[in-house]
Subunit: 473 residues, 2 copies
């Protein structure tokens, strides 16, 4: 993020992590920091608020700001070891249960869906009203999609290094549909597909309804998918496609460097295996430029790029897109035969929102809010959960991956949390194996409140109890 | 239709068909007819206009109305004989071609898509603007669909004799998606599914992408699908599902009587074979009450009801629904895993349109306009095409099924028409067999114009030429 106070906050946070400022210590006064960082006093005050919202500072009346870092530096999860063989997928029961009870009555840490407060409601409304007024333009089957929509997407993709024409793009009902269309076009039932491990439940669901087997490639908590493990798997199995989330992978939140994206693309291209790229979190990087998609390194059309506006503008639009590369004919047939076209109104509304420049302005703020919410949640979980817990350190998006002490069952936490009115996603939903039984994924895209704070405390008590430890420790 | 002038028009039309009034004859004066039918003069004048718009009368200045019936009573197509065995489906090339060139530059007799003039543009706009203003309500994943939408559908379905609760209904991206979700839930690749013959291309496309084989059951031009042939097929093959359009089947336009619907449901229930009912044209009956769906005769949950608003409100909404009966769990999983939910905005817009009562008012007029357009087109085709042509006499919807003299290839007509700027759907798109090579389907949902009239003339010339006859004969 290019915002000044944010950079100051980041530096202060690093200093806290490095022990320059310790738990409970008072931060230097505003004027001192203003001189120290060479910024205005109001910038320092904004940085304070930012760190407070991330849970790193506590304001005490008339006394200033005090450091509130978790007492230990919570580690990030370890990398799982690759599984020896492809396994069939059965994601059905847990996924349907999770979605069917993701009701307003539960504290929503379960599904990776942003709270409406994080979405640009006013802009969506204005753009949708504009779209509704377009009359005739809303009536037709927009296959492969409305031209105005494709044109804007082509512009955006080109600015990310993916040089495409409007005719290279097909609108879909979200990124999940894009991935399934690609899988159906590339595979036959029983085929093997390489996926990340842990992988988000939507991928496992896609593989299940297409009838595919998964070979899981471990994700390193800071480097992303293991290219070495992928290479071994490619040599060992007749893999028909590989699904990767190169930017802010769900649930780990990790991002591949450009260099590793390039290597990933080359590796798969050389092996003749198409890469299905899911870039749904690409717009939600916590710092720096908008990262490039892997597709930007694709020169042969081997990468099928999938994305959507479900995590940024609104899930209710059901609007995504696919850039099928050299698989255009097969994927466009799958789309046309499946449901002919994607609804016109949402396409026109998003076009309007993008055209008016509102989207980029909104994104700048959204990335900050998602980051603050996720870091605050991370700090709160680190305080409430027992020693031996590891928490991912996401580079974007809004979920945390939590490794509990080995003896604690995530499924048991899920059950007890549900009884306490809290929804979480248990680790077993993220793999075809039993590797993540002691894990949880937490959705952080909620406005901070006493209810959220209390829910994390309660989760901590549940985990402590299953761990045989006590929250006081 | 309950409208008085319409009944008078129907009676006059019958009299014309029965030869009471002959081609070129002047109709009795307005006062005479008014006395004869016991209706007001203005009603007779409206009946005249209706028959004129159907192509049965010609107004000559100061002389009155003259009969313009096609010189011979064009027969309806014959029933095809059942094929001996199930065949794999390959609908891809023609369908993609048809859709890719269905451009504004061609005369649109190809796809069964209503011209925007037939759609309630103003009401859609108002309802969509209302929906866009609902703000928060538009943002969520509406799975299985917005409750307000399901509630209204449940009311409408109940009024048609299908007693369902809101929770029995899932919103889909059109009826095509509903059919595919049902097929995926009920079958495995290679399975056999019974379909109507001729059948609309969407069914063949569905079977193709799910990897199924079709056994074709002939459709009688006035009675609908042959229950006798279906029974034979059920005894002979391990059929996994049966797809039928009981109301105004596409392309034949025929409707099953309630008695035959009941028999169809019983036959399949006894055989343990689910019926996938496509009722997309049910709201577009030309006369009488809105016909009941086959689902109204289902007591065991064996019928999966599919429909949409694509032929009545707008194809661009991509809004349909499925009532899966006892297959709810499987079909709802298919939907959730495929694309999570259907866009919220179109659901809210249609709910508003239905709630405000605009839909039923609009339907009354629409059924009349579709009927007029289809009958006028039928008369024009009958005049322009050679002896030996048979034309369906639809009971609803807006397409005609045309059987050309056997020596004329529909595919050749398609190619020559395309070169002349006219799009038609050739018979081979309606079957996995070569039974309908000499057939065409014509979309009639276009406002009448010189361009349309000229295009029919031109089509007639093409058919005459391929037939070796001359238009003058």
């Amino acid at each position: 993020m290019g915002i000044l106070y944010n950079r100051v906050a980041d530096q202060l946070q690093s200093l806290i992590h490095e022990g320059v400022y310790r738990e409970g210590e008072r931060l230097p006064g505003v004027r001192v920091l203003s001189r120290q960082f060479g910024v205005s006093i109001s910038t320092v005050l904004q940085a304070h608020q930012t760190l407070e919202s991330r849970g790193y500072l506590e304001a005490r009346e008339r006394s200033g700001y005090f450091v509130r870092l978790p007492p230990r530096d919570t580690p990030v999860p370890s990398m799982a070891r690759p599984k020896a063989q492809p396994l069939p997928v059965s994601a059905r029961d847990m996924a349907l249960d999770l979605c069917s009870v993701e009701r307003k009555s539960l504290v929503p840490f379960g599904a990776a869906v942003p709270h409406p407060d994080f979405l640009p409601l006013r802009q969506i409304q204005q753009a949708s009203i504009w779209a509704a007024r377009q009359g005739l333009e809303t009536l037709d089957y927009a296959f492969p999609s409305k031209l105005v929509f494709r044109r804007l997407l082509a512009q955006r993709m080109t600015s990310l290094g993916v040089v495409v024409a409007p005719d290279d793009i097909i609108a879909t009902n979200g990124a999940q549909e894009a991935i399934i269309l690609a899988l159906r076009a590339l595979t036959r039932p029983g085929d093997i597909v390489a996926i990340e491990s842990p992988s988000f439940p939507g991928i496992l669901q896609s593989l299940e309804i297409v009838g595919l087997r998964a070979i899981e490639i471990p994700v390193h908590p800071t480097d992303g998918i293991s290219l070495e493990a992928l290479q071994v798997a490619l040599e060992q199995w007749p893999i028909k496609a590989c699904v990767v989330v190169p930017n802010h992978s769900n649930p780990m939140g990790v991002r591949l460097t450009d260099h590793r994206k390039q290597r990933l693309v080359n590796l798969l291209t050389d092996a003749g295996v198409p890469l299905i790229e899911d870039d749904i979190y690409g717009d939600l990087a916590y710092d720096g430029e908008r990262p490039r998609p892997a597709k930007a390194f694709d020169t042969s059309g081997n990468v099928i790029y999938c994305s959507s506006f479900s995590k940024t503008i609104s899930p209710g639009l059901r609007l995504g897109w696919v850039i099928p590369g050299r698989h255009f004919a097969d994927i466009s047939q799958q789309k046309y035969f499946s449901n002919l076209a994607t609804a016109s109104l949402p396409q026109l509304a998003v076009t309007r929102f993008l055209e008016q420049g509102g989207y980029d302005r909104y994104l700048r703020g959204a990335r900050q809010r998602y980051r603050d919410a996720t870091e605050r949640m991370r700090a709160a979980v680190a305080r409430a959960f027992p020693e031996g817990t590891a928490i991912s350190r996401p580079m974007g998006g809004f979920v945390l991956w939590v490794e509990l002490p080995r003896r604690v069952s995530g499924t048991e936490v899920f059950a007890q949390a549900r009884a306490a009115g809290i929804n979480v996603a248990p680790g077993k939903m993220f793999s075809t194996t039993d590797k993540y039984q002691h894990c949880l994924r937490l959705n952080c895209a909620n406005p901070w409140s006493d209810r959220i704070e209390t829910a994390i405390q309660r989760l901590g008590e549940i985990v402590h109890q299953l761990n045989g430890s006590s929250p006081g420790q």
